[in-house]
């Protein structure tokens, strides 16, 4: 049953892509959206069945791909990724109806979104090298085209697409190299054959394979220092595509690391996972810092994705390290937390990207310094964005809290492990969780406070109107998911437990006890978010009621009204309010060595005296330090090499002929 539902889902999604391209302009958007929603529901049913029953399915057909055929198999580990993609995809499909309605949707746009979705659903089910690489490259191609659909004539968009294409191709090449090396030594290209042969692999070979694939998957997941495409591609892509990229595609990088490292290579060495955890620590801190300093909403969200993927990588790395040390129970707990955080990240980041898209759609800008006052114009969007922002800041009662609590518990209990190196890594992980928690809260206080509260800072923000019901429904679905998983996380934990067991090579015992709250099975620790939320609500009601009962003074009975956040001033204007740049300024000063902001201050004096400035203009850019230090020199070297090579073909026919002649004689001499 699960096989049929999953395959039907894939079929409908492809049909949606086809119909998006051929339907007449008026029906195109709705047709593609309805079909891709149906596809997501079918895939959800299929993968959900695998998760609930715990029975994997697999099938092989010699058709479609020549020589190798297609192998599909969905175990609980893959199913959790399909389910996540399907939920985000459902919300995005719904949202895309309203998002695309303001203009005649182009064929490419309506076709590429379902096509991207199809490939996202396909990758976790690929069960052989050939199938996996084809699905992986189709996903890269579809996402690249989907990225380009909206503003393809803008220079920034083309730049972003170029960065993304280069990074994803380098990554895919590394993955292909690693997997081919693995298949060549494992005597088969199907994952089952490779996994059966894993004991016979030599450690150096397995390490090379792991590092190569880790490079590729980390570049897809957006781990520092391979993250440079994220802060470019996510802001420039249409918001539904950003949501899918950030909510579903980067997850597949994590999936690849787990599939190759644990399933195909069988867990491997301790240091592999310490490398993964180190990547996670760097990504989390770097991403959170840049998110706190960004003033572009979607750039902020993109850096926050780097941050959250970093947390997941810390979990994956810690789980692998603990498993390599033989601590299966703790490894299971940490991996469960990491997967839970991945699912939660998909929900709240999807919701936030859709919200940012709604604001951009209504106000015409995504620059926080030009927004403001959106909450009054778009109350529903503001509430949904707010739920996402509170979730990502890990406030109790929402899903971010549940998974970060689990992760923290797992890391802290891991101190009991017997390896000093692992303990040091766990300690670094705990410290990272602490610092990123604070930085993330800063970033989202800024996004909510500056973007949604206060007064409008531009005409566009002042004229913003609430978006239509389909867009709100899309955001609402994801925000609802955040609340449900935050209050009763127990409903998904059994499914995650199965995925965790499938994800670790040696398996893992049950990590959490059944129930609606979070109760750890192997170590002491329990918390019930539902009780927490209930207590909080009761407390609020009690305080509110008590305040009503207390008699008020005369002043409070006739209060003077002033603009919110205006400190009671009568003539509050938008120019007097705090901006995103100034909000982030103290933090930027503290971390100036990492962020390296470029300031540009221009003062024009009056003609009469130098003591009286006429105008002051201030510009600030916060460039990516890693891009500047690592990528710019490499690009400069490549450009220099390219210039050098251009001198060789100088237009002389004789020189070109001489190349051919020299090559011919050389080949002949080598043969002789």
């Amino acid at each position: 049953m699960s096989t049929a539902a999953y395959l039907i889902g894939l079929g409908i999604a492809s049909a949606a892509a086809l119909l998006g391209a051929v339907l007449p302009a008026r029906r195109r958007l709705l047709g593609a959206a309805v079909l891709s929603s149906a596809a997501c529901l079918a895939a959800l049913a299929g993968a959900g069945d695998v998760l609930v029953s715990g029975h994997a399915f697999s099938l092989h057909t010699a058709q479609v791909l020549p020589l190798t055929g297609v192998d599909l198999s969905l175990d609980p580990l893959g199913a959790i990724f399909v389910v996540t993609t399907a939920v985000v995809g459902l919300a995005v499909s719904c949202y895309s109806v309203g998002y695309g309605a303001h203009q005649t949707p182009s064929r490419t746009a309506t076709a590429m979104l379902p096509a991207f979705l199809t490939t996202l659903l396909l990758v976790p089910a690929a069960a052989s090298l050939a199938t996996f690489m084809v699905a992986w490259e189709l996903m890269a191609l579809a996402s690249l085209l989907a990225l380009l659909t909206e503003h393809r004539r803008r220079r920034e968009t083309r730049d972003a697409a170029q960065w993304y294409a280069v990074m994803t191709h380098i990554g895919a090449a590394a993955i292909l190299l690693g997997l081919v090396l693995l298949a060549a030594h494992a005597g088969g290209q199907s994952f089952a054959a490779i996994a059966a042969h894993r004991r016979h692999l030599s450690v150096p070979l397995a390490s090379v394979v792991f590092l190569l694939t880790l490079f590729g998957f980390a570049s897809k997941a957006g781990a520092v220092p391979l993250h440079v495409w994220l802060p470019r591609a996510h802001p420039e892509a249409p918001s539904p595509v950003s949501a899918l990229m950030s909510g579903a595609m980067v997850n597949l990088g994590i999936y690849g690391i787990l599939r190759v490292g644990e399933d195909l290579l069988g867990g491997g060495e301790l240091w592999w996972w310490l490398v993964v955890a180190a990547l996670g620590v760097v990504s989390a801190v770097f991403g959170a810092l840049h998110a706190a300093a960004s003033t572009d909403t979607k750039r902020l969200l993109a850096y926050s994705t780097v941050d959250n993927i970093g947390l997941v990588l810390i979990g994956v790395g810690a789980a692998g390290a603990l498993a390599a040390g033989g601590e299966q129970a703790l490894a299971g707990l940490v991996l469960l937390a990491a997967l839970f955080h991945l699912v939660n990240h998909a929900l709240f980041k999807g919701c936030l990207f859709l919200g940012a898209g709604a604001v951009q759609h209504a106000a015409g800008t995504r620059d926080l310094d030009r927004l403001g006052g959106i909450a009054r114009k778009m109350p529903a969007t503001a509430v949904l964005f707010g739920i996402g922002a509170l979730s990502i800041s890990a406030l109790p009662g929402l899903n971010g809290f549940a998974s970060e609590w689990l992760l923290l518990e797992g890391l802290l209990h891991g101190f009991a492990s017997h390896s000093a190196v692992t303990e040091a890594a766990l300690l670094a992980g705990v410290a990272t969780l602490a610092i990123t928690g604070g930085l993330t809260a800063t970033a989202f206080v800024k996004a909510l406070g500056v973007g949604f509260l206060g007064q409008p800072r531009s005409e566009g923000a002042g004229d913003a109107r609430e978006v239509g019901p389909s867009m709100l429904a899309g955001m609402g679905l994801l925000a609802g998911g955040c609340v449900v998983l935050g209050v009763v996380p127990g409903v998904v934990l059994p499914a995650l437990d199965r995925a965790t067991t499938a994800g670790l090579a040696a398996g893992a015992p049950r990590a959490v006890l059944p129930g609606l709250g979070l109760a750890l099975a192997s170590v002491r620790g329990a918390i019930d978010p539902a009780l927490l939320v209930g207590g909080l609500l009761v407390g609020i009601v009690v305080i509110w009621g008590a305040l009503r009962l207390v008699p008020r003074s005369a002043d409070l009975r006739s209060p003077r009204r002033a603009a919110a956040w205006g400190c009671g001033r009568e003539l509050q204007t938008a120019r007097m309010e705090i901006t995103a740049t100034s909000f982030a300024e103290p933090l930027q000063r503290v971390f100036a060595d990492v962020l390296r902001p470029d300031h540009d201050l221009e003062v024009t004096h009056t003609a009469e005296s130098r003591y009286f400035p006429e105008a002051i203009s201030f510009h600030q850019r916060v460039d990516d330090a890693i891009e500047r230090v690592v990528y710019r020199p490499v690009m400069a070297a490549v450009t220099w090499w390219g210039r050098l090579a251009r001198r060789v073909p100088n237009g002389s026919v004789h020189r070109y002929l001489a190349f051919g002649f020299a090559a011919l004689v050389l080949v002949l001499v080598v043969l002789a």
Binding site: N650, G651, S652, A658, A672
Partner: protein, 219 residues
């Protein structure tokens, strides 16, 4: 298997083909180059004709006729028309001077003997022993293409390569199918016509047929 006289003739003709290629490196007068080409064409036709007589193969006889007609008469005739339009034009300053070219040609002949060892080992015989001559002709022709400036010299270089290929084909396979030889001859004829038109229009536009000056068209 073959009578001595027939083999002698084939050996002599093959030698003439290679000698013609080396001659093309030596002579600067474009009219002399064209005479070299028709000499080579005739030698090739002789090789084909002797093989045809020996094997009693009428098809190969027709090939010999076609070769004589195309490579011995028509193509040199066409080239002569290009040269007549620009009398006194010489390959004045080749990129590699004549003595150096001749030494290079000697090296190329040695290389082709080294390489052709593999070819002759496949089917040892008195004819395949001559294959290095054809290969050397190809290499020397290519060398003419690389080092000579005038458009006509370039065409001659190309035809030398083609003649070398034809010689190797005759010697190794003992007879090219008629259809293949006809097709190849037609191709070469077409190339010569195109190059002739190109050279004529080059002269009309730039006042010379010196390929080196085309460099300005780059970028």
């Amino acid at each position: 298997m073959r009578t001595g006289a027939e083999l002698d003739v084939v050996e002599l003709a093959a030698g003439i083909v290679l000698a013609g290629a080396v001659l093309a490196l030596w002579r600067k007068d474009l009219r002399a180059l064209i005479s070299v080409l028709s000499l080579q064409g005739a030698a090739l036709a002789t090789v084909a004709a002797v093989l045809a007589v020996h094997d009693g193969d009428a098809g190969l006889g027709v090939v010999a006729g076609v070769v004589l007609l195309a490579k011995g008469l028509v193509i040199p005739g066409l080239l002569a028309r290009v040269v007549r339009a620009d009398p006194g034009s010489r390959e004045t300053a080749p990129l590699v001077n004549v003595p150096a070219s001749l030494i290079t040609a000697a090296v190329l002949v040695v290389v082709s003997y080294l390489v052709a060892g593999h070819l002759t080992a496949l089917f040892p015989g008195p004819l395949t022993r001559l294959a290095p001559l054809g290969l050397a002709t190809v290499l020397v022709g290519f060398f003419v293409l690389v080092t000579r400036r005038k458009a006509v010299s370039q065409i001659v270089g190309l035809l030398l390569v083609d003649n070398g290929v034809a010689l190797v084909a005759f010697l190794l396979t003992a007879g090219v199918p008629l259809l293949v030889e006809l097709g190849a001859s037609l191709d070469v004829l077409l190339v010569v016509v195109v190059l002739q038109v190109l050279a004529t229009s080059m002269r009309a536009r730039f006042g010379h047929i010196d390929l080196d000056q085309l460099r300005e068209l780059h970028d």
